[in-house]
Symmetry: C2
Subunit: 205 residues, 2 copies
DNA sequence: CCAGAATGGAATGCTATGTTCCGGTCGTTA
DNA sequence: TAACGACCGGAACATAGCATTCCATTCTGG
């Protein structure tokens, strides 16, 4: 149970969590900040990842997995289409998932697996969105990609420490969700973002 | 009309505009990017500003002046409290003023004049806000500092080129403003940001 | 025609940061 | 129990990016 092997396994976790925390707070943070936060040396990082880009890819991949898990939960665990939609959005915001994925997009070359995961995430989001739309609880004229933009505009809010930031985000997310749940209101101005527009920020190479 | 003197005067403008454009797009941009965009050499910059920080201060100061001008226009030129409020917010977003001020905050030491201007801007914002609130057109529980957070969450939206970005921002600003104009709705959750919280991001030294 | 303002852009010095390397620690196993 | 090696901390190294300086050159106002 104890021993070098066990510490190494624990470090796997500790390092991932530290990396997540650090890069969510500052996407341009140096590798050394991750090591410091994890309470390990830099070697412990390079033993596990080929380089910074490799770590970033891994974080992003994990982030997508969480997103997918939330989306699946929303599709299977909730009956009311609006509650499923709003709950999903709220949970993604709470876990700060979008901060991570957005901030890191473009800083590394995504692999084939990331593409697939991304496509899957997209598809699930569409299902959640269309279920709500078909139920007639959404403001007219909304598109799936609007959801991504909502994530983005909420994720950029920061105020003081983590707890206060969560509070503030909840505040404005409520505001925005109220604005989305208006079947009788006028459509929003301008063409909605297209999925292609939203995806363009990734570095495809 | 022509000549070295005239070119220099023209360059004053060209450089300021280039700097504004460059730093709005990327707050961490190098000085050389400004020179390139302005089509001048680096010397032309250093002849006018003592250093990067000096230029940033100047940009920020100009930004505040524009903000103040918009605020005063809203207070004197418009009768309806809601129209004054919404129009003001819209114009500030359109000129991308907040992007600049927010992005640059904390990267330089503000001088006494900036403090004064900032206080003035704040005061005008309060007047616009309270006029709308007292007219009963605002959602209950809103605070002045909520306006700053709205600027922030809209300013972080980017999509493709400048024109498309403006469209998208207009789209979500409409969404948010709709959410603010709901006198009968429930108050938003959580304590609103305080002015002090919002100002904390400045580097006071 | 010339003193000097204005400029372009290369040269300089520095900082931040990714990556490598080495000496040390301590389970593990023969 | 003795040596082996996985694992680790962190200093050392190499480099890229950037603010700032410097100087040769251009052009003009008197």
């Amino acid at each position: 149970m104890n021993g070098r092997r066990a510490q190494a396994a624990r470090n796997d976790q500790v390092i991932l969590e530290a990396a997540r925390a650090v890069f969510v707070a500052d996407p341009g943070a140096p590798i050394s900040a991750v090591a410091e936060r994890a309470g390990v040396g830099i070697s412990a990082l390079y033993r596990r990842y080929a380089g910074k880009e490799d770590l970033l890819r891994r974080l992003c991949s994990d982030g997508l997995d969480r997103y997918i898990a939330e989306a699946e939960a929303a599709l299977t665990g909730e009956d009311d289409p609006w509650d499923a939609f709003a709950g999903f959005v709220r949970r993604v915001v709470e876990t700060d998932n979008h901060s991570l994925v957005i901030n890191l997009a473009g800083t590394f070359a995504p692999g084939e697996d990331l593409h697939r995961a991304s496509a899957h995430a997209n598809e699930l989001t569409i299902r959640i969105f269309e279920r709500a739309r078909d139920a007639g609880v959404l403001r007219p004229g909304l598109a799936v990609a609007d959801v991504a933009m909502v994530f983005e505009q909420i994720a950029c809010l920061r105020l003081g420490d983590e707890a206060r930031t969560a509070e503030i985000r909840d505040r404005y997310l409520t505001l925005v969700l109220d604005g989305l749940r208006l079947p009788s209101a006028d459509p929003l101005p301008g063409p909605p973002p297209s999925v292609e527009e939203v995806n363009r920020r990734w570095r495809f190479e």
